[in-house]
């Protein structure tokens, strides 16, 4: 054998059913998550008249369209139809559904790891680009489109060409108050929103080892915003501690066996990557986005870019359009940007650690703008309430709601109004993402909490401990 392999190579190799002469491989899928938005795919399956090949490896999660208030009632018939259609497909095809009234419901990329469905070495797919999240556990996980969802439903396999391998090594320690979200925005602004296109990313280095599982999930989640095909972290003691006693993870003696097997899931010391990038976590300040792509991120003490200072006319045009959409003046201080509301939620930043970080800033303070807090899962909600975090949010004046994709994508009607500016823990500041003509600034949960308290983009370090 002899040839050194990366972590990605090892997981890839164990899933190849057949490789064609043209280089495409047919891969086995270990876990397939579907959600309300998968309705186009189910329609394709019906058109073929085929069954779901592996209902035991298929899991439905109601998250994209579910309401976050007054459950289980759904006022909007179109939205109710979406949620009912998923239930109908689960019943018809016989797969497990984490539905609206299930105590284990939540956002698919929170629920999979939380339930122990996502495990090291597995191939995980879902018709959602943020499926990259699950790679934090050492899984090969990626988002697919409706035609591919239909293909997986009918065959439990997928054709893929092997992506290139990229290692992003981050050494040094994050400054106090900073989090995985700052790391993620730093990576994206450094390599660009298409910087990892066509690559399977492996995160390594001191700063990654030091991250909690929640932090790793955030970092892998945002990797799609750098265009990565998938992102992975080699499983270690943090991974095993996180998975121990998860409801659908192996238990007891089998779990111990699994941990031994999972320890082999690491890149060989002399494995070669197509690209190798080194970053320093200690050099990072809290980051916020100012524009309409996640790569438009800057340290909070910076100023909004000036198109007039840009030599490249295409770039200058991009900046002008972005500033016009965002309603910002060239050269203004980011800390002078006022916000109209805040949102704490999404598959990026609504796990228990994220809620704790936001609550630590809000404790004993009042928000001067309205805001919504939607936990990543119904389990996270229960745990947060046990810890009294819901009280902190409510006493600060924020609304404490149920779990779903909510205001990250606005499909359930939780929208930012046209022209409103939102400090958000989510993953995309695209035009219209949180609602038509909504203006989104991405940042960490602690930074969103700081913005809630001051009504402006704010360096959380000016509030922390104060």
């Amino acid at each position: 054998m002899g040839q050194a392999r990366t972590l990605f190579d090892k997981v890839w190799d164990s899933h190849v059913i057949v490789t064609r002469e043209d280089g495409e491989s047919l891969l086995w899928v270990d876990r397939h998550f579907v959600h309300e938005g998968s309705h186009h795919a189910f329609r394709q399956v019906e058109a073929r008249g085929l069954p779901v090949a592996e209902p035991g490896l298929t899991f439905g999660v109601a998250d994209h369209y579910v309401p976050t208030r007054n459950r289980p009632a759904i006022d909007n018939p179109e939205i109710a139809g979406m949620v009912e259609r998923l239930s109908g497909n689960a019943t018809r095809h016989g797969f497990r559904l984490f539905g609206l009234e299930d105590p284990d419901q939540g956002i698919v990329h929170v629920v999979g790891p939380e339930q122990g469905l996502t495990l090291p070495g597995l191939l995980v797919v879902c018709g959602d680009s943020h499926t990259s999240t699950h790679g934090a556990l050492g899984a090969y996980a990626f988002g697919i489109g409706a035609s591919e969802v239909a293909h997986v439903l009918m065959t439990q396999t997928l054709w893929q060409r092997k992506p290139k391998r990229m290692r992003i090594r981050i050494d040094g320690n994050l400054a106090p108050g900073l989090s995985a979200k700052d790391l993620a925005l730093h990576v994206i602004r450094t390599i660009g929103a298409d910087g990892a296109r066509g690559h399977a990313v492996e995160y390594a280095g001191e700063a990654i080892s030091a991250l909690s599982m929640e932090g790793r999930l955030t970092l892998c989640n945002m990797s799609i915003e750098a265009g990565a095909r998938c992102a992975m972290v080699a499983p270690d003691a943090v991974t095993f501690a996180y998975l121990r006693s998860r409801p659908l993870a192996p238990q007891g003696e089998v779990f111990e066996q699994a941990c031994v097997a999972w320890q082999a899931l690491a890149s060989d010391p002399d494995a070669v990557f197509d690209r190798d990038i080194a970053l320093d976590a200690s050099a990072i300040a809290p980051l916020v986005t100012w524009g309409v792509s996640p790569e438009d991120a800057l340290p909070i003490d910076a100023r909004v870019p000036d198109p007039a200072a840009e030599a490249d006319p295409a770039r200058a045009g991009y900046l002008e359009q972005a500033l016009a959409y965002m309603g910002l003046r060239a050269g203004m201080r980011l800390e002078d940007v006022t916000v109209d509301r805040v949102f704490i939620g999404s598959c990026t930043n609504a796990r228990i650690e994220d809620l704790r970080a936001a609550a630590a800033i809000l404790q004993g303070r009042k928000a001067v703008v309205p805001g919504l807090v939607s936990p990543g899962s119904s389990r996270v909600k229960v745990q947060a309430e046990r810890e009294g975090l819901d009280r902190v949010f409510r006493e600060a004046g924020l609304e404490w709601a149920d779990s779903g994709c909510s205001m990250c994508v606005g499909m359930n009607g939780d929208l930012v109004a046209p022209g409103e500016r939102c400090a958000s823990t989510t993953n995309r500041n695209f035009r219209g993402r949180q609602g038509k003509d909504a203006r989104t600034h991405l940042m960490s949960p602690a930074m969103v909490a700081a913005a809630a308290v001051t009504g402006r983009l704010t360096d959380l370090r000016k509030l922390a401990g104060g």
Binding site: I17, V18, D22, G23, E24, L26, W28, D30, G37, H40, G56, L57, E78, I79, G81, G116, L117, L119, L122, G127, S129, G143, I144, G145, A146, S147, E148, H151, M154, T155, Q156, T157, W159, A193, D194, R197, G198, G227, R229, L248, A249, V254, Q257, A258, A261, V292, S293, A314, G317, Y318, V409, G410, M411, P418, R428, F430, R431, G432, R433, K436
Partner: protein, 202 residues
């Protein structure tokens, strides 16, 4: 799936980078059945104001009526995996997008629906955009057999993965190819699930 061999069509230059799939089709339209047609949702919020009035976006310029090609800047189709972005392009009549780079999931979705993502160098993308902007009747020819784009009297090379090229040229459907491997899939399944007890959940 419809085959793509050679396209001779009107082309619309969009001098935009990072055209994400949320712009290609805003999320609020995605619960609609495809049978309604998704073409009117294409780039909806860049094209129409709050009362549905035209904002004068390039696509709605009379010069670009009946356009079959879009040319854009880098990272076209970035973001959400929504295949509805491709449905919106297709139903509008777009059969090819030319750009220096594409979101991976978008490019895959495009090919599965017969739409060609033609990758050109950043320099050639600028030249193609400039040529289309300057033309009275913006128009080009895309040839998937020769991997060339002819526009304004010039010829440019474009790239696409060799397998995807064949799929488009032949109109092949993945599922038909996969079902030829049914025996290998069944054998792999048996082997895989016996490897470790945790490969079957819970």
């Amino acid at each position: 799936m419809e085959r793509f061999i050679r396209l001779d069509a009107r082309a619309c230059p969009l001098g935009l980078a990072n055209v994400d799939t949320d712009q290609l089709i805003p999320a609020r339209f995605m619960s609609r059945p495809r049978s309604e047609g998704y073409g009117r949702f294409l780039l909806h919020d860049l094209r129409f104001g709050p009362d549905g009035q035209s904002l004068g976006f390039a696509l709605d310029d009379a010069r670009h009526a009946g356009t079959g090609v879009i040319a854009a800047r880098r990272n076209f189709g970035t973001g959400s995996s929504r295949e509805a972005a491709v449905y919106a392009l297709w139903d509008y009549g777009i059969r090819c997008v030319i750009a220096p780079s594409f979101g991976d999931i978008f490019a895959s979705n495009a090919v599965k629906n017969g739409l060609l993502p033609a990758q050109v160098s950043p320099e050639d993308a600028e030249a193609i955009l400039a040529s289309l902007e300057a033309a009275e009747v913006p128009h080009l020819v895309v040839d998937l057999e020769t991997l060339r784009i002819e526009v304004g009297g010039r010829s440019f090379a474009f790239a696409i993965d060799a397998v995807r090229r064949l799929q488009l040229l032949n109109g092949w459907d993945d599922l038909d190819l996969t079902r030829r491997h049914a025996g290998e899939i069944a054998a792999f399944r048996t082997r895989r699930l016996a490897e470790a007890p945790w490969l079957l959940p819970g």
